[in-house]
């Protein structure tokens, strides 16, 4: 199923977004810049707080790990120096997971937190865009699985991963900025450096827009193109009053 996004579905938060892809649905809200507690206050930049809430149950070390990954990545994108001594608070609530994830059948899905990372990152970025927090660039993320036979598969679905079972030897998440710079690389499992480089190239292809002149019409799976479409829709709606004659 093609990924779907909705900007600003919530009323109370400064900015919010829902994003669903591959059976994962996440709803994100941004409050900021708001007053910061004395403990977290930074004299020259905004503090960033990321909260990940699981669909069922209370937060575990897995969510804390995801939070720290998201925070360190977003720190480089948000122009924190524009809002010193404030807080930018990002809450991500996972609303649904693929059916296969909860099955717990020993495949790569049930113990890894990496498949969650791309939807969380995309939701975070969309929520930040919706809250009009100044960013230096946008980013797109992709999940790549390398099978035991060395086959590289970009954005595998949950069903595919369960079917492969122990056949998936490593999982990788890459995030690229709009300028094709690698901003996040997380890997799990056994792999060679050569395979990692290949996976990185595949992810870059999936995340970044094609160089001008090589444009293919109707390309859906592309991360940056998807973001552009969502933001274009938002700007179009907001600027409707100008277009009307």
């Amino acid at each position: 199923m093609a990924p779907q996004a909705l900007l600003s579905p919530l009323h109370q938060a400064d900015g919010s977004a829902t994003y669903s892809a591959n059976g994962y649905s996440v709803i994100g809200a941004v409050n900021g810049p708001v007053e910061v507690s004395r403990r977290d206050e930074l004299p020259e930049e905004a503090a960033i707080e990321v909260i990940v809430r699981p669909a069922a149950g209370v937060g575990s070390p897995r969510e804390r790990h995801l939070e720290s990954l998201l925070r360190t990545t977003l720190q480089h994108i948000i122009l924190t120096r524009a809002h010193p001594r404030t807080l930018i608070q990002l809450t991500l609530q996972i609303t649904s997971l693929p059916d296969e994830e909860s099955a717990g059948d020993g495949s790569a899905l049930s113990y890894s937190s990496l498949p969650l990372l791309p939807p969380l990152l995309t939701t975070a970025l969309l929520a930040l865009l919706s809250a009009s927090i100044p960013l230096s660039t946008t980013l797109a993320a992709a999940l790549v699985a390398i099978s035991a036979t060395g086959k590289i598969k970009c954005a595998p679905t949950a069903a595919e991963m369960v079917r492969a079972g122990p056949g998936v030897s490593s999982l990788h998440v890459f995030a690229f900025s709009a300028g094709r710079a690698l901003v996040l690389a997380e890997s799990e499992g056994d792999f060679e450096f050569g395979a990692w480089e290949e996976a990185c190239a595949v992810a870059e292809e999936a995340c970044c827009e094609r160089v001008a002149g090589m444009e293919v019409d109707g390309e859906a799976g592309n991360g940056q193109a998807f973001l552009r479409g969502v933001v274009e829709g938002k700007v179009g709606r907001e600027m409707r009053w100008r277009m009307a004659v």
């Binding site: 919530l10 109370q12 708001v34 909260i51």
Partner: protein, 292 residues
């Protein structure tokens, strides 16, 4: 922790003046609920309730555990209400606010202690295995009426939830996954619904389903929980203002009408959802029941 923006003196006066002239800020009559919407997720046991701008998602999940030693024949049922900063920056994780405490206490009284869910039916093998049911409430948007919306969400999610089927042979229990056997709905004994009344002007003015601004200027509130048979499950009264007992009794009959409407609404939405899932009447065809 950032503080929530408090309502200004002018706004407060404006709302109170309006109420004295029988006008609500959003033009509703005093005894009207905001528009209620209820949607179910793709999975069983997920209910998304929108009451005006308030939005709450309840998710029910089950796992198999050992029952409590002193309650061998009962399953376990918990409601978890943890506010996140998504609804309001004033909510902080791990530091419950008063509103959060009141919400969890009322849901506990209204749903758990009133015996809405038959916990004995969750028992698999006495003293050894039982289902542990957990309802997680996610408050996404906060515009007042959290107690009413949360109660509707939990009751709807419980009715929508299906637990996996089990087969017991002596000391061994087999839990069948959703693919192997059609999962089973929970046995729910009655459907309690909360209705909140807010009091203004020393208890003279009574509002139903106040929104956030109206909640911030109210002097007292009374939460009445009833089921559609008119049985009162609990009454809780908060705030300093005193309320005439006869007026409170009158509230229960007003609440009953609302509870009937809401229960009917939940039932209708559940039926619509069941029809949507049952593509081509497959479930009826798969049933092995004989026509008698």
């Amino acid at each position: 922790m950032p503080r929530a923006a408090e309502i200004s003196v002018n706004e407060r006066e404006f709302i109170l003046q309006g109420l004295k002239e029988n006008i609500r800020l959003d033009g509703r009559p005093f005894d009207a609920f905001r528009s209620l919407e209820l949607n179910f997720g793709d999975e069983h046991g997920v209910a998304d309730v929108q009451l005006g701008k308030t939005r709450v998602i309840a998710r029910v999940s089950a796992e198999v555990t050992a029952p409590f030693v002193d309650r061998k024949f009962d399953g376990i049922f918990n409601i978890s209400t943890e506010f996140s900063p998504m609804a309001s920056p004033a909510f902080e994780i791990g530091r419950p606010t008063e509103a959060e405490n009141i919400l969890s206490r009322i849901l506990e009284k209204a749903i758990r202690r009133s015996g809405a869910l038959d916990t004995e039916s969750l028992c698999i093998i006495a003293g050894l295995k039982c289902f542990s049911l957990r309802a997680d409430l996610h408050i996404l948007d906060h515009d007042g009426g959290l107690i009413d919306a949360s109660c509707i969400a939990v009751i709807a999610a419980l009715q929508h939830f299906r637990r996996p089927d089990v087969a017991v042979e002596g000391e061994n229990a087999t839990i069948f996954s959703i693919r192997e056997r059609e999962p089973i709905p929970l046995s729910i004994l009655h459907h309690p619904i909360c209705v909140t009344f807010s009091y203004y002007n020393a208890g003279e003015i009574m509002l139903m389903d106040a929104n956030l601004a109206e909640e911030q200027v109210r002097e007292g509130e009374a939460v009445i929980t009833m089921n559609r048979h008119g049985e009162v499950c609990q009454i809780a009264k908060y705030g300093g203002v005193s309320v005439d007992p006869m007026a409170l009794l009158n509230c229960t009959s007003v609440a009953l009408e609302k509870v009937k409407d809401i229960t009917k609404f939940i039932q209708r939405r559940l039926e619509e959802d069941a029809k949507k899932r049952d593509v081509g009447g497959l479930i009826a065809e798969l049933s092995a029941e004989n026509a008698r």
